[in-house]
């Protein structure tokens, strides 16, 4: 087996993952693209382990470790996505601009219309009452947010 073949396949997979991370808007699709990139690295590790005939099997053992870390990453990532969805009612990456330096531009009218500062959702997230899951908690959990945000939360629930 020429080592070039698995290396090229993994390079193509990695670039496809790069495209997915940059071009997708849904957070779960971005997580899938990250998985593609991790798999490209795994294929490289296995191919080079077979090529170099490592006596310690470093490449394949590291592949197993990467698979375990990817599982942990997906678990944590999905937990964060679900928490995000409970608080914001959206998983679109373009709308999550709380940490942006500049105030949200006019290209995003829903969040630009919010009268409070960009730190209000963080406060809302911390002060969220516990034990009352579901849409009413999500809507009531944003006391500082503008009327648009609450209305959007109610219409999507």
């Amino acid at each position: 087996m020429h080592v070039v073949y698995p290396a090229i396949v993994s390079a193509l997979l990695f670039s496809i993952g790069v495209y997915g991370v940059l071009a997708r808007r849904n957070t779960i699709l971005v997580l899938m693209s990250v998985e593609l990139m991790l798999n490209a690295v795994n294929l490289n590790l296995v191919a080079f382990d077979v090529w170099l005939r490592d006596r310690l099997h470093g490449g394949q053992v590291l592949t197993l470790f990467v698979i375990v870390i990817a599982a942990a990453e997906v678990g944590l990532g999905l937990a964060i996505v679900l928490a995000l969805y409970r608080n914001r009612r959206t998983v679109d990456l373009d709308r999550l601009r709380t940490l942006a330096e500049t105030p949200p531009s006019a290209a995003d009218p829903a969040s630009a219309a919010s009268p409070t500062g960009p730190d209000s959702p963080a406060v809302a997230g911390r002060g969220r009452p516990g034990g009352e899951g579901g849409p009413p908690a999500g809507a009531a959990a944003a006391p500082g947010a503008g009327p648009e945000r609450v209305a959007r939360a109610e219409e999507t629930s």
Partner: protein, 179 residues
Amino acid sequence: MTETVPSYLSPTGQEIVFLLLGAVAVGSALLVVVTRQLVHAALWLVLCFGALAGCYLVLTAEFVAWVQVLIYVGAVVVLLLFGIMLTRAPIGRAADLDSGNKIVAAVVAIATAVVLVTVVVDGFRTAYAPLDSATGSAKELGSAVFRNWVLPFEALSVLLLAALIGAIVISRTDIRGRD
């Protein structure tokens, strides 16, 4: 290991199988990132991971292949499907799955692919790995893990435990922070 390189023009059966599986993997990965239906993306991801498991089998890494099937196809994709369902994503065709910077992303991805493929072809043109002996059986990998890699293995177990406990704490709503 680089003395006698067989010609590229007479591929062996293993290379043909590997290239076919690699084409399936790359094609389904492309469909994962361009499809307009969220659930279909997860299902194409299953096909991509399965084809990659086949690639591992051709490369004589059978234990890694079965772990790939068990963990990626069995656990990770199911988790992703649960995430799709719990965020009430649109099940049918959705137009807003892509953000506005598609063209920039395509340019960056194509540039990455060109650079990586050029470097890899230039660097490993003469490398050849004969696949005559199986090196990745469960017995060999198990002894490698528990002889030489015990400390990283245990550290990784603790990391996985911590990550999953963190996931539970984040996703439960009745656990509050210290006020």
